[in-house]
């Protein structure tokens, strides 16, 4: 076993992977109708580009990515677009969202993208392909893959980590997929390493997947050219949550992702094997993401196993194909038992984030006993993989003491649920922490909104001030023009002021002009600063561009105000002399 390092805490829940891992990877039957949510990724929902009644082929783009963090959506079967409507989607609170519904024609006619050879294509072309093929991270976060692929432009990446740990109980998608498609995953890893400029590839896998490890070893021996980044297979001892991005990086490289940072900040990029396979299929075969591997398991299904299913298939159909005994189901879970959530019904589509469906019986995953008071026993502290004190966080989260919660590093919680699992008082700790985080984010958002409103108000004030200053300048200019005209007519002697007042007034005016010139320089500097902030924001994509534009406009108004005032003062001096 390769040398590895360690993260604190962790738990050993019963794995219960055997039942679904025994069966070979199957293809789910082609669905007769699919429901494709416009948002199956983190970021902005895609915008539909088809209309009801239109014929689409499998792999045809039906919605276009919007903005930086977004990705295209493709038809997963061929047929006619039936409607674009609100439909229940997988969500803890049973939300509905906008979906494209396609009625299939059972022909499964494909429309593929042109085939590319990644070793010879330009980076930009490959990154564009990932976006147009709708590739997102399949490990659970569904982060658009093209952003991760392009990260080499801003960060120096030295290691690409393939996260095949799959530590959560029940889930076997990566395990089973690796047994059959290890070659694709290895090639995908090479492709991603090529794009981000990583010098080496590490595959992290837990030691409870011997068959997947064998398959990976075989494909590592068989493939690769001398130019490719070296690949090391690192087998680690099974412990939840080794598959957490930060935890796996710690175990493989002994590097810690900085708090509130990204793995890229320490030169690492992490990918799920499923994503790598999808990426390589998108490039090599021009196949957009229209399907994914999903584990169907739980004691209430007769045929547990992993199926490659079209996105948008309804979960009830998938479970029916796995011979669900509906009467015995006590809870239906999407995702694993520790981080997943319960579904209230099964008339919802399979999305890119759905890695596992558990139809559990009452004996298998009994309902949690009622919550009891926290006795601060410290079991959660022993289990926490982020080195936090969940018992303290719980205290502050419950009392909405957000500053204290942040002092105890609330935002470093990865919501793995290890603390819930061990809590003798059955407190849903992770749920409290998620709620507290949402609350803090919401408050920050509100504060930001208030600040933006203030900026807009300041712009209005600045504009009015500028208009007043310009009016004054025009008045002074007119006055000067009249005076000059009368001077030309030789009437100047009459209006000559006495010597003493003239000197005093002149001194005051000189002072005014000096002050105004300083103000003008400051306003000019403010404009430059605002311009720079805006330029930086539009380059990196961070920060609120609209707000920065408002701030820049305000600064420009202020500059014009000072300029008008200065010219007015100069005219006034001219008039006086």
């Amino acid at each position: 076993m390769a040398r590895h390092f360690d993260f604190p805490g962790g738990i050993h829940p019963p794995a219960r992977k055997q039942r679904s891992a025994e069966a070979p990877l199957r293809s789910a039957p082609l669905p007769s109708r699919v429901v494709l949510p416009l948002q199956q990724h983190i970021g902005t929902p895609a915008e539909p580009c088809v209309s009801p009644g239109q014929y689409v082929r499998t792999g045809e783009r039906i919605a276009i990515a919007q903005g930086m963090v977004s990705t295209d959506i493709h038809a997963s079967i061929s047929g006619w677009v039936r409607s674009i409507e609100s439909h229940p989607v997988p969500h803890p609170s049973g939300e509905r969202a906008s979906c494209i519904v396609i009625d299939g024609d059972d022909k499964d006619e494909w429309q593929r993208l042109p085939v590319l050879n990644w070793r010879q294509s330009h980076h930009a072309e490959l990154i564009e392909r990932l976006r147009h093929a709708g590739i997102v991270g399949l490990g659970g976060a569904t982060f658009p893959a093209q952003i991760k692929a392009a990260i080499g432009e801003h960060h120096r990446i030295d290691s690409l980590v393939v996260n095949a740990a799959e530590c959560e109980p029940y889930i076997t998608t990566d395990d089973v997929m690796l047994r059959t498609h290890a070659d694709d995953v290895v090639e995908g890893a090479r492709l991603m390493a090529h794009l981000c400029g990583a010098e080496r590839i590490l595959i992290g896998i837990e030691d409870d997947k011997p068959e997947a490890i064998n398959a990976l070893e075989a494909s590592l021996r068989a493939s690769g050219t001398d130019d490719d980044a070296p690949i090391a297979l690192r087998v680690i001892a099974t412990r939840y949550p080794s598959g957490g991005e930060k935890q796996l990086i710690k175990r493989l490289l002994n590097r810690e992702v900085p708090s509130r940072g990204l793995p890229a900040d320490i030169g690492v990029l992490c990918h799920n094997p499923g994503t790598l396979r999808a990426a390589v299929q998108a490039v090599r075969e021009g196949r957009p993401m229209v399907s994914r591997v999903v584990t169907l398991t739980g004691a209430a299904v007769n045929r547990p196993g992993n199926v490659e299913a079209r996105l948008g298939s309804l979960m009830c159909d998938l479970l029916a194909a796995a011979e669900l005994r509906e009467a015995e189901v006590s809870r239906l879970i999407m995702g694993g038992p520790l981080m997943g959530f319960e579904l209230s019904h099964t008339e919802i589509p399979l999305v890119k984030a759905s890695n596992c469906l558990i139809a559990a019986t009452q004996d298998e995953l009994p309902t949690a006993p009622p919550e009891q008071p926290c006795i601060r026993c410290g079991a959660c502290e022993t289990a926490c993989p982020a080195g936090l004190l969940p018992q303290q966080l719980y205290w502050y989260a419950r009392s909405h003491d957000h500053d204290k919660a942040e002092l105890f590093n609330l935002f470093d919680c990865i919501e793995c649920g290890a603390c819930d699992f061990v809590c003798p008082s059955h407190i849903p700790l992770a749920q409290y922490f998620r709620a507290a985080k949402d609350e803090i984010r919401f408050r920050r958002h509100e504060a930001l909104k208030a600040e933006h409103a203030r900026h807009r108000f300041e712009l209005r004030q600045a504009r009015m001030e500028r208009e007043a200053a310009e009016k004054e300048a025009r008045r002074q200019a007119r006055k000067a023009a009249i005076r000059r005209r009368s001077q030309d007519q030789g009437l100047s002697e009459d209006s000559q002021p006495t010597e003493t007042t003239d000197n005093a007034a002149n001194a005051v005016m000189e002072d005014d002009i000096k002050t105004l010139r300083i103000a003008q320089a400051a306003a000019r500097a403010a404009v430059k600063k605002a311009e720079k902030a805006l330029a930086r924001a539009s380059e990196t994509g961070e920060g609120d561009i609209d707000d920065l534009e408002v701030q820049l406009a305000t600064a420009r108004e202020n500059l014009r105000t000072t300029e008008s005032r200065l010219s007015a003062a100069r005219e006034a001096r001219e008039n006086a002399s």
Binding site: P366, Q372, L389, Q391, D403, F408, N409, P424
Partner: protein, 357 residues
């Protein structure tokens, strides 16, 4: 939110909070049995009365607070508090003494602060300290270690008569005797320790009795450690600091200080280390904090025993350290992953900038 719970799976785990507390109660059995063996039925009457009072007080408060009564009693926290207080009081204490102690423990120390999990002070020790200050005479009258079966020992009926309070507040002289720590504490300054022990100041067999009771508490503590009900940090730090301080004092001046073994086994040190200081609710939180907390208790015990007014000091030491828990908690936060160093103190983190994900 985890939909899977450790106690509902086959892995080794102490179970829910009620079972955790039940284990603590079970672990007190060796100590209680040994105490009874040496000091008579009065130990059992103490504990049984305290349990009855504890349950009724808890039920009353739950009724007043309109909370489920049975579910609360099942968390066994009142049971443990009652056992600990009952075992700490002199055997065959009168009923009113126990009642005052239990009211202070259950109602004042626990429920006035919000119930289980919210009490800043160890309830049993609040009760004990209150009694010790208010009723010094009955609180310092320990029965002599006459043995459970000896003919001189008071019979069960004598004891029942005594605890009803009908026989006055004091026990007959033939029953009582000072504890080893108490006797040593009251040793005249001019008498050397060796001379003092030569005068056999204690009733016969008292030292053996106290030592064996301490070892019985230790056995219970080992069970708690094995069952992972308690961590090793608090007992180890507390016993370590008691031993260290006692050794230093004994090395400097053996004629006026008890030996380290005497301090370890002569009083409630082991009982306190495994059953009192380890109360998770009122103890420090982090593992590092628990070390400081335990060491502080040990040092305070030795300080009060050698320079204070009380012969044994576990209750006061624990209560004083309970005060320091918030402070310890702020300064012993572990380093979270992704941070170069731990957050210390109560200042908010520097510029909590927007998290990027």
């Amino acid at each position: 939110m985890s939909l899977m719970h450790a106690e509902q799976t086959a892995i080794r785990h102490p179970g829910d909070s009620g079972r955790l507390m039940a284990w603590v109660a079970i672990a007190t059995l060796p100590g209680i049995i040994t105490l009874t063996w040496h000091f008579g039925w009065g130990v059992i009457t103490n504990i049984l009365l305290a349990i009855l009072m504890g349950w009724s007080l808890e039920a009353t408060v739950m009724r007043l607070r309109r909370r489920p009564i049975v579910a609360t009693l099942r968390d066994n926290s009142a049971l443990v508090t009652a056992i600990l207080l009952g075992a700490s009081l002199p055997p065959a204490s009168p009923w009113w003494l126990l009642l005052v102690g239990m009211i202070a423990a259950i109602i004042v120390a626990k429920h006035l602060f919000g119930g289980l999990g919210h009490n800043p002070f160890n309830p049993a020790m609040v009760g004990y300290a209150l009694l010790l200050i208010s009723f010094p005479v009955p609180m310092t009258q320990w029965t002599a270690p006459l043995g459970l079966l000896s003919s001189q020992a008071p019979s069960l009926s004598d004891i029942v008569f005594h605890i009803t309070g009908l026989s006055g507040t004091t026990l007959p002289d033939t029953w009582t005797g000072a504890t080893a720590l108490d006797a040593f504490k009251n040793k005249p300054e001019t008498v050397m320790a060796s001379e003092f022990w030569a005068t056999s100041p204690l009733p016969e067999g008292a030292r053996t009795a106290w030592y064996s009771v301490s070892l019985a508490w230790l056995a219970g503590g080992m069970l708690l450690l094995y069952q992972r009900i308690i961590g090793w940090q608090i007992p180890a730090a507390m016993l370590g600091s008691v031993l260290l301080a006692a050794t230093v004092l004994y090395a400097v001046d053996p004629s006026h200080h008890g030996s380290p073994l005497f301090h370890l086994l002569g009083g409630a040190t082991l009982f306190g280390a495994f059953f009192i200081a380890t109360d998770p609710v009122s103890a420090a939180t982090s593992r590092r904090g628990k070390l400081f907390y335990g060491a502080g208790i040990g040092l305070l015990i030795m300080l009060i025993r050698t320079s204070g007014g009380y012969p044994d000091a576990v209750a006061f030491a624990v209560l004083l350290m309970n005060f320091t828990v918030p402070f310890i908690d702020y300064y012993t936060q572990p380093r979270a992953q992704g941070h170069s160093r731990p957050n210390h103190g109560i200042k908010p983190p520097p510029s909590s900038n927007e998290d990027r994900r």
